[in-house]
């Protein structure tokens, strides 16, 4: 199933979902997010989405609430739907992880390349070098962990009981605090472990960032996820 047909289906789904009631839409959105973080391909997700939209709109026409249409345990319905598809092949799992790692590495490395470039230009250095310090050995995995747990949190935040889940404000404050903490840890690590492990030209590092981005884009284009 090509990504093109998935995208065509996605557009049609976006049109059709407009007809849904607001009450149903809240549950529906939770389900869609849950599927986005699952092992399903884009085409599988959109196929399920179009079926869900049809079920919900039809049911609302009969005067039913989303409870009555889908049953009370939405997470169970989603899990059953996911398990009805064949499992993701191991090669695809590896490719997926590789693409995610490439992208997050490209981003954090890119940020450091840009900042060192800026510093170099401002200082008026004739030779622009990139200093790979020891702190990077800690910061890059830290960044990876941060991305991993952030994604995990978002995917698990669906279906929480409305009474147990935090209000939007508290969630935002919590997320902001964690972000500040992450930045503070990064700065502390940079100061503590500022020994230079090796030096290369900025250009070489920029090329590494480019290669990592190409790996990400290539895997993305080749797989269905």
């Amino acid at each position: 199933m090509s990504k093109k047909s998935a995208k065509a289906l996605l557009k049609r789904n976006n049109l059709n979902e407009e007809k849904m009631s607001t009450e149903s839409e809240l549950v529906y959105r939770d389900m869609i997010i849950y599927f986005r973080f699952s092992e399903l391909t884009l085409f599988q997700q959109e196929m399920v989405r179009s079926d869900l939209i049809q079920m919900i709109i039809d049911g609302e026409e009969r005067g039913e609430s989303i409870h009555e249409i889908l049953g009370k345990d939405y997470k169970l319905v989603c899990d059953e739907i996911i398990s009805s598809f064949p499992p993701m092949k191991t090669t695809d799992k590896i490719l997926n992880t590789l693409s995610l790692v490439s992208m997050s590495l490209a981003i954090i490395l890119g940020i450091y390349v840009l900042s060192q470039l800026a510093t170099g230009l401002i200082q008026g250095s004739s030779v622009l070098t990139f200093d790979f310090t020891m702190s990077y050995l800690f910061i890059f995995p830290l960044n990876g962990l941060f991305v991993y747990f952030a994604l995990k949190y978002i995917s698990n935040s669906s279906f929480k009981e409305k009474t147990k889940s935090l209000s939007k404000k508290k969630e935002f404050v919590g997320a902001y605090f964690i972000l500040i903490l992450f930045v503070a840890m990064t700065i502390t690590l940079e100061t503590l472990f500022n020994q230079i492990l090796f030096q290369t030209s900025i250009l070489a590092m920029a090329l590494v960032v480019l290669v990592l981005t190409m790996i990400f884009l290539f895997i993305n284009a080749k797989t269905e996820y």
């Binding site: 049809q54 039809d58 049953g71």
Partner: protein, 104 residues
């Protein structure tokens, strides 16, 4: 086991006539299966389709998005008959067990 029985019942319903999702839940209700939501049978329909037991036809619905109408493939018909046979055996065995238990 119960999921397999429900799948077999769904196949038997489709064996008799071409239906769409909600109609299956209605039939199950009138037959005495109680309130089974479309959310329960949809994953089963996905599985049955994946196993090539079902043919899907899209037909326009009055509400907008097209509805999926199901019929059985040849494999699906074989599976429905196989289910009915195995159900006969199973229900006989269970009834036997209950009778034996109540006689003790």
């Amino acid at each position: 086991m119960l999921k397999g029985i429900l799948e077999g019942c769904i196949l038997t319903i489709i064996l008799n006539e071409e239906v769409y999702g909600y109609e299956i839940t209605e039939k199950l209700k009138t037959l005495g299966f109680g309130d089974i939501s479309e959310g329960t049978i949809y994953p089963l329909l996905l599985r049955l389709t994946r196993n090539q037991y079902l043919n899907i036809t899209l037909k326009p619905s009055p509400t907008g998005p097209q509805r999926k109408y199901y019929t059985l493939t040849d494999q699906g018909i074989k599976e429905a008959i196989s289910f009915q046979y195995h159900w006969q055996e199973l229900s006989q065995a269970v009834n036997h067990l209950i009778r034996r238990n109540s006689n003790e």
